[in-house]
């Protein structure tokens, strides 16, 4: 395969109070296998929308462009098919599922994905063992598996729970939407280590962030700056440091 994630001319809009609002205005982006790419950009530039569109959220209407994943037309797939194909989205604001036990949720998800990938399902004992180890590696309190999904979790706990899910679902492509926000330094390191453990020639990630801090741990391959629904600038890791020091204004002015 040439490029494993290939986005070209992607446009998307949302219906907001009866008004169609264009958010993505022609995103071009390709991510080769094994690389970690970063998207930075001011609020409202369309970063989260891009992650939702890639994961298949139905509120967004794709009006133009393509996105292929492992050569498949990503945009034609149901959200769960994308998940089974190896795409994982760590939500910026993880959703609470009242009454749904976290371990049960994780096992249902893992087995659904395993089934789709032609793997044998895990029994409760095997799964729990695996989940406990993964949770421990993320320094999560043991009772987090027993609690309801994200209900009553602190901001940091929610983010760790996302990384736990990612670890267990073993995606080949992960989108981390501001997974570092609301984390203290220690939690940030633990989360970054969680991502780093997945790094392999067959694993890529798209990291949405505002901060250099996470990138100190993750060491990205490429940085993209997004503004007004497009990627306006791409470069090496030094670009992130530059933005961290100088802000976006200069770059936006240059492009405009």
């Amino acid at each position: 395969m040439s490029q494993f994630l290939e986005i070209s001319g992607l446009c998307a809009q949302i219906d907001a109070d009866g008004q169609e609002k264009q958010i993505l205005r022609g995103v071009d982006l390709s991510i080769p296998p094994g690389e970690v790419h970063v998207i930075m950009g001011p609020n409202g530039s369309g970063k989260s929308t891009l992650s939702y569109v890639l994961a298949g959220r139905e509120d967004y209407e794709v009006t133009a462009g393509t996105a292929t994943f492992h050569g498949q037309n990503l945009l034609a797939m149901e959200p769960e098919e994308r998940a089974a194909a190896g795409l994982f989205l760590a939500f910026q604001s993880p959703i609470e599922l009242p009454g749904v036990n976290n371990a049960n949720f994780l096992r249902t998800a893992v087995n659904a994905v395993r089934r789709a990938r032609g793997l044998e399902e895990l029994d409760a004992v095997a799964f729990l063992k695996m989940a406990r180890e993964a949770a421990k590696a993320l320094s999560m309190a043991p009772d987090m598996l027993k609690r309801n999904v994200n209900v009553g979790f602190s901001g940091g706990e929610k983010k760790r729970n996302e990384v736990l899910q990612m670890t267990l679902l073993q995606p080949t492509f992960a989108i981390l939407d501001e997974t570092d926000s609301g984390l203290d330094v220690d939690a940030l390191r633990i989360v970054a280590e969680g991502v780093n453990r997945l790094r392999a020639p067959t694993f890529s990630a798209l990291v949405i962030t505002h901060h250099q801090k996470l990138l100190d741990y993750l060491v990205p391959d490429r940085i993209h700056v997004m503004a007004r629904g497009r990627i306006i600038l791409s470069g090496g890791p030094e670009l992130a440091r530059q933005i961290d020091q100088e802000g976006y204004t200069k770059f936006l002015a240059e492009v405009a």
Partner: protein, 494 residues
């Protein structure tokens, strides 16, 4: 929005065609002619070999019933019921000989199997000793149509001093107890259906737990309607003496059928000082087809009285079946510090109609009640929570908390919440909350992003929505109930 459409289609199928328990059992029946009059009541009473006082009681109830009219206040609609066009007595013909389990018709045992009565319980019914395990044994008093055909664990219970038998037997063997309590919680004239039941009830269970005894096992009764055009009128009476406790499980499924069938049960619970009664129900009777043809009319009067101080009555119900459900398991909290609880899940689909809830009547000081009701409506169904919390002047320190949540699946159904809150005591505290919404798109998307199919996601979210109720069920039932909700959603996403 394809997801929404699919979800709706998914859940519209809830129950339909997946009704796994639609079959009839071919057993010879002893059946009274259609119709209701004093002679039929005399016939029932004589077939049951009842004492004279019982017959008198029935006849009095019949007179009361004749002067009453069907209640119309519930939010349910159905064609008029012809009470003369039903059989009021039907009993499987018993083989001669002792009523041992070996004598049970094998056809009946196969029925239990199809019904999904757990294997160990079937084994009990078949008379096989269960090895002592960690799980508490379950006693099954199986009601087949109107007559109890098997009772297990009698001996263990007898040793503990617990009486658990068909009420028809109790009328003969324990007349003093039955006479003392029958109709004291739900008087014959309480309502139209209780009057009807009082006149014609054919069987049901009687439980008596003497002072200080913790009933050594969960008591379980499986009800089932089988014969064509037979109304089912169970009568259950549970009396728990001071410091004693019991957990009673009731579950029912019914065969697929075209004609509507009337079911009007009465359940009475009496709890003395420090006694506790836990009454759990999983109701999955035939709900009728997609167009609302057939299905059971379920008009039930369930009421418990906490007579003693610190006594407790807890109702838990999972209602997925019946064409029409009219049911308000209630607690009269008389004893000081007594506690009433009502936990309910009601699922309706297609043309089902449910009007269910509870009444918590606070009479005594420091009485407490909790109501958690979860309503799920799909298809073209209508579901109503109707509840009353009443605090009388002497109930100082009374507390009530009520939470009612409704989930709508599809835009052709209805979900309604009708609480009545009446307080006549300034030192009582009542809190009521209710919400209505659909399954959140955020939650659905989150689950699907993790690889769950839409159908599994809906199942998971619905089960989560009902968690607070399901966790109140005894273990044996929790699994079954969860399965029931899941089965209801099975095959729903195309």
């Amino acid at each position: 929005m394809p997801a929404v459409t699919q979800t709706r289609e998914a859940v519209e199928k809830l129950g339909q065609s997946t009704y796994k328990w639609g079959f009839e059992t071919d057993i010879e029946m002893d059946m009274a002619p259609k119709g209701l009059n004093e002679d039929i009541i005399r016939l029932i009473s004589s077939r049951k070999e009842e004492p004279e006082w019982m017959l008198e009681w029935r006849l009095a109830a019949y007179k009361t019933w004749q002067a009453m009219t069907e209640p119309k206040w519930a939010k349910v609609g159905y064609p008029p019921i012809d009470y003369q066009d039903a059989h009021y007595y039907a009993a499987p013909l018993k083989k001669p000989g002792p009523k041992s389990l070996d004598e049970v018709d094998p056809e009946l045992l196969r029925t239990y199997e199809k019904l999904g009565i757990p294997l160990h319980e079937q084994a009990m019914l078949a008379g096989v000793e269960v090895p002592e395990g960690e799980r508490m044994p379950v006693a099954v008093d199986a009601v087949f149509d109107s007559v109890s055909v098997a009772t297990t664990f009698r001996k263990t219970l007898e040793e503990a001093g617990v009486i658990f038998c068909p009420i028809s037997e109790a009328v003969k063997e324990h007349p003093d107890l039955v006479r003392k309590y029958l109709g004291t919680v739900v008087p014959a004239g309480d309502n139209f259906f209780s009057a009807l039941n009082s006149a014609v009830f054919t069987d049901g269970s009687f439980v008596y737990v003497p002072k200080g005894v913790r009933c050594p096992m969960e008591l379980s009764t499986y009800f089932r309607i089988n014969a064509k055009n037979t109304g089912q009128f169970e009568r259950t009476l549970i009396v728990v003496e001071e410091g004693a406790s019991v957990s009673y499980l009731e579950g029912c499924t019914a065969p697929m059928r075209d004609e509507n069938q009337l079911h009007a049960a009465v359940v009475e619970l009496v709890a003395m000082d420090d006694a506790s009664i836990k009454y759990s129900t999983v109701q999955n009777w035939y709900p009728g087809d997609e167009d609302g043809r057939g299905g059971i009319y379920n008009f039930v009067t369930k009421r418990g009285i906490c007579r003693g101080a610190r006594s407790k009555i807890s109702w838990t119900q999972v209602e997925t079946g019946s064409a029409i459900t009219w049911k308000y398991p209630s607690c009269i909290l008389q004893g000081e510090g007594s506690v009433g609880e009502f936990y309910s899940v009601a699922v309706t689909n297609n043309r089902q109609q449910a009007d269910t809830g509870t009444k918590m009547i606070h009479l005594g000081r420091n009485t407490r009640s909790t109501i958690i009701a979860k309503t799920i409506s799909a298809g073209r169904s209508d579901s109503t929570y109707r509840g009353l919390v009443r605090v009388q002047p002497k109930a100082s320190g009374a507390r009530n908390f009520t939470q009612c949540d409704s989930l709508l699946i599809g835009d052709q159904c209805g979900a309604h919440t009708v609480p009545y809150i009446e307080s006549r005591n300034m030192n009582a505290r009542i809190e009521h909350e209710a919400t209505t919404s659909k399954i959140s798109e955020d939650q659905l998307f989150y689950c699907r992003q993790r690889g769950l199919s839409e159908e599994d996601a809906v199942g998971l979210i619905v089960n989560g929505f009902c968690r607070d109720v399901l966790k109140e069920l005894p273990m044996e039932f929790a699994v079954e109930a969860q399965k029931l909700l899941q089965i209801s959603l099975e095959g729903s996403v195309g």
